[in-house]
Amino acid sequence: MKKLAEVLRNWEAVIGLEVHTELTMLETKMFCGCRLSHDDEPNANVCPICLGMPGALPVPNEKAIESIVMAGIATNCEVMRQSMFYRKHYFYPDMAKNFQTTQGPVAFVMHGHLDLEVTGNGAKERPDGTIEKAADGSYIAPIRILRIHMEEDAAKMVHVGGAEGRIGGASESLIDYNRCGTPLVELVTEPDLRTPEEARLFMEKLRQTFLTLGISDCSLENGSMRCDGNISLRRRGETAFGTKTEMKNINSFKSLHDALEYEICRQAEVLEEGGIVYQETRHWEPSRRRTVVMRVKETADDYRMYPDPDLAPFDLSDEFIERCRARVPELPDAKRDRYVSAFGLKRADAAQIAGDPKIASFFEEAAAAVKGKVVPTVANVVVNLLPGRSVTAGQAASLATLLAGDAITFAQAREVLDIVEGTEADPEKVVDERGMRQSTDTGALEGIVDEVLGRCTDQVAQYRSGNKKVLGFLVGQCMKASKGTGNPKLFNQLLAQKLED
């Protein structure tokens, strides 16, 4: 198969996403009072309503509707005051009533957009000339959102006795109704995405947004956030859509990117060989890095959708909508911009911190405990040293202060972290107790520098003839001579100064 870059020169990939997100942060299910938890014993959280027992009726979860309206506001959607629930019929045991309660033509929120900042190598996937790019190759891709609607999740089926838990060859199918009735929001984009990277970024941004709203734990791995990709190709310059395929089993951002990349290349190969792309659902196999056919859609399914007569039509009040709006916190983009302008953070660091509400609040707590000029170092610590570690914001602040004052090196900071992680120890005390504090006494350091320059004449000559890389070696010699107590940054400065003289 051809490579993506080559394919996209001749073909335009048209990608749309359908993203299902479970509102895991709610306490109860969509239409009953059952506890929302998938970790309990199978079928522990069930009642006549979510089991579809005769005579049971649904009552909508107000908090779920608050959540979806917040999601809509955060993605620049219009809040549709009047909408309804519909019944979507299909016979399968994972849906206790044999219909799913979902929404019809009008969803709670519609017609929004997210603007993606595509930078770095990812931006190169989009051929030049197909969108306006900045000097550094980055570009903004505005992605329209068609709608976000509310529905209920189905039960989880476990097929036993077959291969890989698939139904084919299974001897038994077990049903866990704990998940049945979980509030689920489905976001549908317009087919505005053009590269796998854009799709990946969209999902990432959506995840960051929903995490910030606090409406879901958004775990692709555990399936609380699920993404289906629809993709078709058309020759550059054409306006009609090609036949699309739908991709399932995407459980990581990388899978999303790689599955789309594979599928674009596969469709291009089929089309270039004069073949036909069939409208079908394909399954991504991460281990074999390919998509395989799940099922072919020969006819459109007839779900016999009609308005659910058990659920009165909604007419959301101004007060309700304003309450939702007030509950939308500062979103990742605004937070990033604030970090850059207020704290002088690097844009990339700011974006990374702002993208995760837990990290952002940790950062803000640590930043509040240090002097203003140390804040960028806090960001540096948070982004580069802390991932995977468990320390307090106070410890991070202390560490950043030490680093900013050149009292320890980055390498030493890691050592300090090893010591304080999981304890309440103050990094500053640890550094002092262990004599790790580096000397910033220029006079003492100057002596060492002179001694090193005196004996490393070869390197000095090399430096002066243009090989500036030897500076690193000389800094190392100084560090060694100071038994690690000298500040490498200062050594660097002093050495450079003396060598240039």
């Binding site: 579809g52 005769p54 005579g55 049971a56 009726l57 009552v59 219909f99 459109a300």
Partner: protein, 497 residues
């Protein structure tokens, strides 16, 4: 003492409160009456003797403790078998649910129990409430207590027959297109379909969710009003998002005068083809009696009523198809044995679990909701619904209630009408009320001169005017002197207190 069937609900509760007799004695009398009479009516599907005696014992304990007794203390009641009651099966008179044990108690049932009523059991019905004869019950037909060769009407035929034969004092039924008012008319009892939303539907197996409404049967308007008090006590049911707070004292204005108030009649309806001369005469008599009581009789028109049957037989099957989709033999109910695949199990369980009418309505609904057909029928029917609702709104600007038949005929013999379409057409007087969500009540007027069978008149009122409707019903009852009548061949048979 005579049979308990001579007493009103209030008299039973008062007798217990006064120590004249105990709730247990009343329950035993009712069990005795059921024993003596139900062979003739076959109104019951299950008699819940244990639950009845336990509830009665509870009431007697409260009496012994000197507690103030609730308003329906010790009153024998029974429930249409589409209402869940813990400790009973809820079968909907279908093989599909024959083994189904109620997993919880319906709100309407619970509210009667909370009011102190004694639950005697579950009553026969047309399968899943599809019908107007009770002959489509998968288990057995129910007989009209006035002539056991005849149908009691339906679908709440068991409820109407049990009350008419004096087996219980009050029964609950459900009315999707006339299923309370028509059997009440055919059995000579009072049957009320309250405003949509007045009574919670939670725990009542759904047929047509936008049309279904639970209501009481009694031999007196007063008993029905007392039941309405209990059914609406506590107001909105948080388990039914379509329920409304209709809590009030429905007895308060029961005996108010209707002097000067307006009752509408629709002359064209009384000239309609297929209307029995006896029914027509009874309606004329009812109008005269209401006029005698001081009401102004005003001619009104519901121009779109003729389309109500067409609209109803689109909307109701669509909702029925959807509501009955859950019965697939996977989790409960009838399960076809020895199936190789899920699809086979589901389809054979449904093929063998449902009767002919249940299948007919579901197939119809499945077709009407399918893509390409939906707009033509379902959407069109919803538009008709809007027109009918508007017709009523206009009419109720002129009048407080509208008088019309509940059924075009008196009770017919079992099997006399076999064409489903003919049965559908007989719903003409009742279904527009469900379509508009208004309230309606059938009150016995007289016995037909030829047939000797009871004839009822229906009064309809605007939504949420249930108390006012009961005032008109009481005025009609007072004038017609049918109050408290038990079908003669059953009256006093067993049930001595």
């Amino acid at each position: 003492m005579p049979s308990f069937d001579t007493l009103s609900a209030a008299q039973i509760a008062a007798g217990i409160a006064a120590g004249d007799f105990s709730a247990t004695e009343v329950a035993r009398a009712a069990l005795d009456a059921i024993d003596a009479r139900d062979d003739g009516t076959r109104a019951f599907l299950q008699v819940s003797e244990d639950l009845a005696l336990a509830a009665a014992a509870q009431t007697d304990k409260a009496y012994a403790a000197g507690d103030t007794l609730p308003p329906l203390a010790g009153v024998p009641v029974a429930f249409k078998d589409n209402m869940n009651l813990l400790g009973t099966r809820t079968t909907c008179a279908s093989r599909m649910l024959e083994p189904y044990q109620s997993a919880y108690t319906a709100t309407c049932v619970q509210r009667l129990l909370d009011a102190g009523a004694t639950p005697m059991g579950k009553l026969n019905m047309d399968e899943f409430a599809f019908g107007s004869t009770t002959d489509s019950s998968a288990f057995h037909p129910t007989n009209n207590p006035w002539d056991t060769a005849r149908v009691p009407g339906g679908s709440s035929g068991g409820s109407a027959a049990a009350v008419a034969a004096g087996e219980v004092t009050i029964a609950l039924g459900s009315d999707t297109g006339g299923s309370i008012r028509q059997p009440a008319s055919l059995c000579g009892v009072v049957g009320m379909k309250p405003t949509y939303g007045a009574v919670s539907r939670y725990g009542v197996v759904a047929f047509g969710s936008s049309l279904d409404q639970v209501g009481p049967f009694g031999r007196r308007v007063e008993d029905v009003a007392l039941a309405m008090n209990a059914l609406t006590a506590g107001g909105h049911d948080r388990f039914d998002s379509t329920s409304q707070n209709c809590e009030q004292d429905y007895l308060a204005h029961l005996n108010d005068s209707i002097e000067g108030r307006a009752v509408g009649v629709i002359p064209a309806l009384l000239e309609a083809e297929g209307l029995d001369a006896e029914v027509k005469a009874a309606l004329q008599q009812a109008a005269d009696r209401l006029a005698d009581a001081g009401a102004r009789i005003v001619e009104v028109d519901l121009p779109n009523m003729a389309n109500s049957i067409a609209a109803y037989y689109v909307l109701a099957p669509c909702e029925a198809f959807s509501n009955l989709a859950r019965f697939d033999g996977v989790r409960y109910g009838y399960q076809e044995p020895d199936c190789a695949t899920l699809a086979e199990q589901s389809s054979l369980s449904r093929a063998h679990g449902f009767g002919a009418e249940a299948k007919r309505r579901q197939m119809l609904g499945a077709y009407l909701l399918s893509s390409g057909v939906y707009d033509k029928y379902y959407l069109a029917a919803q538009k008709v619904r809007t027109l009918i609702t508007a017709d009523y709104q206009r009419a109720f600007q002129q009048v407080d209630a509208i008088l019309m038949p509940a059924s075009p005929t008196v009770a017919w013999e079992h099997g006399a009408i076999s064409d489903p379409a003919a049965l559908y057409l007989a719903d003409i007087y009742t279904i527009s009320n469900n379509i508009a969500g208004n309230c309606g009540i059938s009150v016995p007027v007289c016995l037909g001169e030829q047939s000797g069978l009871p004839v009822g008149a229906q009064l309809q009122g605007p939504a949420f005017a249930d108390a006012s409707l009961l005032t008109f019903a009481r005025a009609l009852e007072r004038a017609c002197q049918m109050e408290g009548t038990v079908a003669p061949s059953f009256a006093g048979k067993g049930g001595e207190l």
